[in-house]
Every structure is written in structure tokens, then in C-alpha cells.
Subunit: 256 residues, 2 copies
Amino acid sequence: MGTTQLETAPEPKYWHLKTVLSEALDQDFAVGEVLPNERELAARFGVARATLRQALEQLELEGRLQRRRGVGTTVAPPRVGVAVGSAQHSWPGESVDGWEPLDAAETLPTPAVLKLLGTGGAFAADQPVHTVRRTRVTHGQAVAAELLYVPAASVPGLPAIEAPAGPARARAVLRELQRLVLDGQDRSVELGSARADDAKELDRLPGAPVLLVTTRYFTAAGTAAVSVATYRADTCRLTFGDSGNVEITHEPRVAS
Amino acid sequence: MGTTQLETAPEPKYWHLKTVLSEALDQDFAVGEVLPNERELAARFGVARATLRQALEQLELEGRLQRRRGVGTTVAPPRVGVAVGSAQHSWPGESVDGWEPLDAAETLPTPAVLKLLGTGGAFAADQPVHTVRRTRVTHGQAVAAELLYVPAASVPGLPAIEAPAGPARARAVLRELQRLVLDGQDRSVELGSARADDAKELDRLPGAPVLLVTTRYFTAAGTAAVSVATYRADTCRLTFGDSGNVEITHEPRVAS
DNA sequence: AAGTGGTCTAGACCACTAG
DNA sequence: TAGTGGTCTAGACCACTTT
């Protein structure tokens, strides 16, 4: 009876915690600063560690925190804008934008890749595809890992290449691709979780949230190549057009 | 000694669980089918419910499952491709693509919005902005909620509008905007978590993962409007260009 | 060796949906 | 009212980094 209308909130604890922490980050912490460890934070807020972790997870998802096992939790810098779609179509590797070829190989296409390549393209279902692995580095940080699929039929000049496995071979495939006339391209973005190999490349744990950017490259003959790029969702903001230079802060998005 | 090399995996249980479930989904379940409840699944796999939930969470993040409190866990249909960036620039509301105006209001811009609008645009920091709320429906499902910010100075004709709050007023603002000459636009995509109001609109819980699409609209006078659209990350695949019609399956992305 | 975040358990109760 | 997923707890141990 005597109690005021406090505690009226059916709001989950972790949600409220997240809000409190978020404000604390804005006011009392600088970028790169390390937070108290989880056990202490949990004790300080009077919740179980699992609950505290639920709040931290959300903040990490929003790019506000960075957690590293054995090290601690630090305040993340604002997300970096990473240019993804330029106004002009271009083959991978044509514009110098931080991509680093790693390796190239040859495999049979998985059904998923086949579907992306589409029917009627310059390839056959049982013919091999060349795969090129690249990583992208921005501001000294690995932000993306890419796997490029090029049907052998797309680049007839390729069998002649005898470059040893490694960056040289990857570059050779890209060079061959760039000799074709690019008719158009096509892009989609969706949320995913990092595969083990991509996670390693990106210095994240497997399952970390990533943005999957799928690009299809068209020639007159059909789909000549498909790229699946895995961007770190915690640190990246994908930009299309020329908005890469704008800083976006972490403040509340609106007061409607 | 007698044991074979089983149990050599330092792989987390939930990760392995996710793989097993993922394969089961491919083989033994149809889209829309409901899974056994969490307590039973956990028992069946011999793990704690929290561990089982960790696997389910990942699968939901990847768009393979849909969980609804009080109902159950069902197999999600493939993500819908949602066209976001067309080749042509256009004002919001110009092309008929499923957007539904809800309401319009007037507020003072938050610092974050101010930064997006930029300095030197056709507005002043202490002048109000019109906000327009819209939702986007595709395949009978709400996929996005948008908040459009239009500085009052961008649309001088607007004060004359006396439409009552509601869709009519929202449409009036959009109409006024469309009278301007659009010079260009600018887009970025990042991961976020749904605010309470957006979550409600999208029929999700607060904090659900979303794709934040920020668009800036330019006229000769500067940034005339800014839109922040919140897309359901679990059900949407954002498409740029004309790739919206391609089905992408949930199969393993590669066998490198 | 000490300290961090990551995984896991076995419970409990709550909020929501549907019969 | 019964059944579902969502939240929360208080522990324990593990994997990793740093000193």
C-alpha cells in the first residue's frame, strides 16, 4: 500500500541493465577503456552473471562493446564505414579498396552456390568452380573475409595458369576475370553467423554475428562469378554510395 | 587407452548441437513445422535447456527457426528478398513498394539525427524536424519500420498542412517532399537491436536483431531528409539492384 | 599462476497463447 | 488452464591471455 508505483515495470532486468550501462558508457567511459570484469559488474548491479552477460551481449551486438576472452571488456570505437557498393559496377579486385588475395583453389559447386550461379549461365553443374579467398583490411583491422566463386567456364584462359597455391594464384584468377566485359551486378545483405574459418580470419569466435554480402557478377553469357563476403557485424557499417566518411554516433536513435 | 579418438573436440556443445539440428531441419522437417518443445529437445540431446537454447538462438539468428512465446518453435521459410536500393534515386514513397505511412509529428532533432543531417544543410540545430513513421509489408508480413526525419526548413510548404495526426498527415509530408528536386542519396546498413516501439511494430521482442538502413536524401541545398529503417534481420535479405527474385537456400555456404 | 570471458548445469518462476 | 518460450539464479568448470 505504502509503496509508490516503483517496480511497475515488467521490463526484463537485462534490458534495464543494458540501458543503464549504455548511459554509463556515454558519460563515464572513453573508447578503449576496459570495464570491470563480469563478476564484479554482476555483483555491483545485484544480478547473476548470466543476466549481466545478456546485457553485455546486446551492447556488443550494437557495436558498443568489445569482449575478448582472457583480456576483458572494452569500450568499442564507433563502427567503421566500409564502402561496399560503388555507383559503378566493377570486378572484384579492380578498385584498390583494402582487399587482399589469399589463395585460390578448385572445387565442385555446392547446391547453394549452384543456385546463386543460376541456370543458363556459362557453366555446367558438374564442372568445377575456382574459389578465391580474400580478406579486407580497414584501419589496420580485418573487417571481412570473402569467398569468390568463378565457374571454370567463365574464365577459359585459366587452366593455363600454373601459379603455385597462394596469393599469386588468387591474383591470377582475378586478373583473368577482369578481362571479361562486366554487364552488371547484383547485391544482397543479410545477417548470419561466422563459420569457423571466417571467424578465425576475422579474429572472432565461431558463431559471431556477421553481415553476409552476396554479389553476383553478370556478363552477356550469364552469371560469371559470385562472391560471398562475411563482414564483422560488430565493427562494420556497410555503406552504399559515398556515405563512408560520416560518423554515426551511438546515441539513442529517436525520441518520437 | 581403449577409447578411440572420440571426444577430442574442444567444440562447444551448443555449436555441435546447432550443426546436428541444422541437418535435421534440412532432412526431416518442412517449412512451418513445429519442433518439439525446448524441454523435450534438451532432454533428448542430454543437455541443459540453456545450452539447447543457445543453439536455437543461433539458428533463429540465421533465419532458420522462428520462436514465439506461448506457441512454439517452427521452421522458418527462406528469407524474403526485400528490395532496398534501386538503381534510380527516389524520394520515399515515390515507388510503390509496400510502404505504408502511419503517422507524422514534429520534434527537435536528437544529436544523432543532427549529425546525420550534417552541418550546412537547409536547417538549423534548434529548429524542429518533421518525423514520418512508416511500415513496410511484404508477403503479408511486416518486415520493416521506418522513421523519416525531414527538417522543417526542407519543406517550406508544410506549415500550411493541417491534416489531423495519422496516415493522412504522413502522406502530406511525403507529398511535400516529393516536390523537391532530388540530387542524390546515400545508404548504410548495420546491425542493431530493435527498440521497444519498432519491436512492437515488427511483432518481435525488444532487442531482437535488426538491420538498420540509414538513407540520406540530398538536394542542391544539402541534406533534405534522413530515413532510418529497421528491418527484421531474421526474416529479411536486403537486396540492392535486381536480385530480389532469387531464392537463396540455407545450405552450407561452402566446402572450401 | 592469476585473471578474464566462454560454456554448462539444474533448477525456478514469469509472460504469453490457445484450448 | 495447460503448455510454450522468456527470464533469472547460483553455482561450476574450461579456454585463453597476460604476467
